[in-house]
């Protein structure tokens, strides 16, 4: 069992003794930030290679809007009322346009499916071998995607809103805009960490397509993407407003329209932050368990 005694003498120093083992918490933090910034930059570069796909995707996304507008016009005409659950016709259309902005921040296409694929194909290994964190990696990647997507679709969206400006009652004030911006940040956080939580199921079930389909279909409805939650009878609308899903579509839209104000707005924002934290913790716990399971069974 003795090794051969002719081990080549290393001509150069084999490795350099490096600082990253935290000279100070601050330095360690900076190193971590740089790491995920680099992932962010690389993702940006990757995204730029698919410019054509964007434009087409964005344009196609608007087509259903036309039918939605026509449908609601018919509903209002048929009901004979000017306001349904506090929404006038113009507000309703403005709301539905705004939920598209919410979804721009909260939808996470390919996140959960991607994790399941990485588990299935074994590429999830890289997060275990390299000194990086999968959730940190995924969020850096996602922010880069979102930014490119928002920049690329800015012109078509601007055009859409100019065409549809008649549905809006002027521009909201600075305070409302700030709250709207915050609610979009929450939309991203809840959207990302909710889907990341779902994604961890991929460690247990290799195929998650059907599950995702159910979640997405349900989400379309209970997030208020399809219609304002206020339209539902009590206790349903109240219940849905307690759930995290409203932050992915409903909440930012009603904030922009000035329908939530003052204390209600503050509570709404606080609730969003709380749900974000909840899913941050839950996704982390499931990730740990998932890795433990992967280590025990798979590999």
């Amino acid at each position: 069992m003795t090794p051969p005694d002719t081990i080549a003498e290393p001509a150069l120093e084999p490795w350099s003794v490096r600082a990253p083992d935290a000279t100070s918490p601050l330095a360690a933090g900076w190193i971590a930030i740089r790491k995920y910034l680099a992932i962010f930059q690389t993702s940006l570069k990757e995204r730029m290679t698919y410019r054509g796909d964007f434009l087409l995707g964005t344009i196609l996304r608007f087509l259903p809007m036309v039918t939605t507008i026509l449908l609601w016009r018919a509903i209002y005409a048929g009901s004979g009322q000017t306001s349904l659950a506090g929404f006038r016709y113009r507000e309703m259309i403005a709301y539905l346009l705004l939920t598209n902005i919410s979804r721009m921040f909260s939808s996470m296409p390919g996140l959960a499916g991607g994790v399941a694929r990485e588990v299935r194909e074994g590429t999830v290994k890289r997060y275990m071998i390299q000194p990086m964190d999968m959730i940190g990696y995924l969020i850096s990647y996602r922010i880069a995607h979102k930014i490119t997507y928002i920049i690329m679709s800015f012109i078509p969206y601007a055009l859409l809103f100019i065409v549809c400006r008649g549905f809006f009652d002027g521009f909201p004030d600075a305070g409302t805009l700030a709250a709207f911006a915050a609610s979009l940040g929450i939309a991203f956080a809840v959207g990302f960490f909710f889907e990341a939580t779902v994604a961890m199921v991929g460690f247990w079930f290799l195929e998650v397509t059907s599950l995702l389909y159910i979640v997405m279909t349900l989400n379309f409805f209970i997030s208020g993407h399809m219609l304002p939650l206020d339209l539902l009878p009590q206790p349903w609308s109240g219940l849905l407003k307690l759930l995290p899903f409203q932050y992915m579509a409903y909440f930012p839209a009603v904030v922009f329209l000035g329908k939530v104000k003052g204390a209600e707005l503050a509570w709404g924002l606080a609730g969003g932050v709380a749900w974000s934290l909840f899913f941050i913790v839950l996704s982390r716990v499931l990730y740990r368990r998932g890795l433990r399971r992967y280590s025990a069974f798979g590999g």
Binding site: P4, P14, P20, D21, R34, T42, E46, P131, F297, G299
Partner: protein, 330 residues
């Protein structure tokens, strides 16, 4: 203290028994049967700093499972391991910064981006200082002859080129321990030997500790002085490469050229592999070589003679077959 230490490492998987046929699949939905599969059944070895060791064994012998345990991807069912003085499956960053695993081809590189971008990302992930990064990258791209390819999207590269990039990515942070699973699989001879040369040079220069698995004896002969042979999850040999031939190569090849045409009764000495006019090759049992040579020289006029070891490939497959037989008998 070894760089890599394995003590009685065991890994047993529980696999679902799939029933065949539709009825069986339906039954499987409600009632699952499991079977225990012993992938690795207690292997122990120590690899010293700077060694380059080959891990040999047929498919399913447990090589990859052992590498996965040593790189911290999977927990063993029992047993212990230390790599760089860390327990690998704790996956501490301090450990992960100092080793590399190359397994398959789509692990570290971004498919749609030039490999250079992935390398830059690695620089950040591993916090590699700029100067060191530039130096290592230059060194490695030169060794592998891929200086011009780092700006091309990875998906446009050939299999061999991708493997070279994968290897560069694995070495950029100057790991002290390198685990390679079939680094040359599917590559042509030129690419294979280039990767071999790179590993050899890099090893000599940086003194990295390497454990590799390969089906190509060429790789093993070019790189490793020590081999571990594993079969059915157990270590059947641990020692110098030359020893494998001595221990398991039961015959030698005696090549003869006679002055006249070769005699007809050569098969009394051993197995005649080739006979063509004055030349003949005979496989002779190791212990009998001297006697056989003496007998032939006495009887006939021999113009030239050489005695060769059997090819490693052949010996290794014999080792596998023997272990197979022993396993079946047990």
């Amino acid at each position: 203290m070894g760089m890599i230490e394995a003590r009685n490492l065991k890994k047993t998987y529980r696999v679902v028994q799939k029933q065949t046929g539709l009825a069986g699949s339906l039954r499987g939905l409600f009632h699952r049967e499991y079977r225990e599969v012993k992938a690795v059944g207690g292997v122990s070895f120590t690899i010293e700093p700077g060694e380059m060791v080959a891990f040999l064994g047929p498919n399913g012998a447990g090589k990859t499972t052992t590498l996965k345990m040593l790189s911290g991807l999977i927990h063993p069912t029992s047993g212990e391991a230390r790599v760089l003085d860390h327990v690998p499956w704790n996956r501490e960053d301090a450990f992960r910064r100092q080793f590399s695993l190359v397994m398959g081809q789509k692990n570290q590189l971004w498919w749609d981006l030039p490999a250079g971008d992935s390398f830059q990302l690695h620089r950040e992930i591993y916090s590699i200082p700029h100067a060191e990064f530039t130096e290592t990258l230059g060194e490695l791209t030169e060794l592998l002859g891929v200086e011009k390819l780092t700006k091309q999207a990875v998906r446009e590269l050939s299999l061999g080129e991708r493997m070279k990039m994968e290897l560069i990515a694995a070495l950029l942070h100057r790991p002290r321990v390198l685990l390679l699973d079939e680094p040359t699989i599917g590559l042509d001879v030129v690419a294979q030997s280039k990767i071999q040369r790179c590993l050899k040079d890099y090893h000599a220069r940086r003194g990295v500790t390497v454990l590799l698995t390969s089906h190509y004896m060429r790789d093993v002969e070019a790189l490793c002085e020590r081999v571990l042979v594993i079969n059915h999850g157990s270590l059947v040999y641990d020692g110098p490469l030359a020893g494998v031939i001595e221990r398991f190569g039961e015959t030698k090849l005696v090549k003869l050229r006679f002055e006249e045409s070769a005699p007809d009764d050569l098969d009394s000495y051993g197995v005649v592999v080739r006979k063509d006019g004055p030349t003949a090759d005979i496989k002779v049992e190791r212990a009998r070589v001297a006697g056989v040579l003496a007998a032939i020289l006495e009887r006939s006029v021999v113009a030239d003679v050489s005695v060769e070891e059997p090819p490693l490939e052949e010996v290794i497959s014999r080792v596998f077959e023997e272990a197979e037989a022993a396993h079946d008998a047990a």
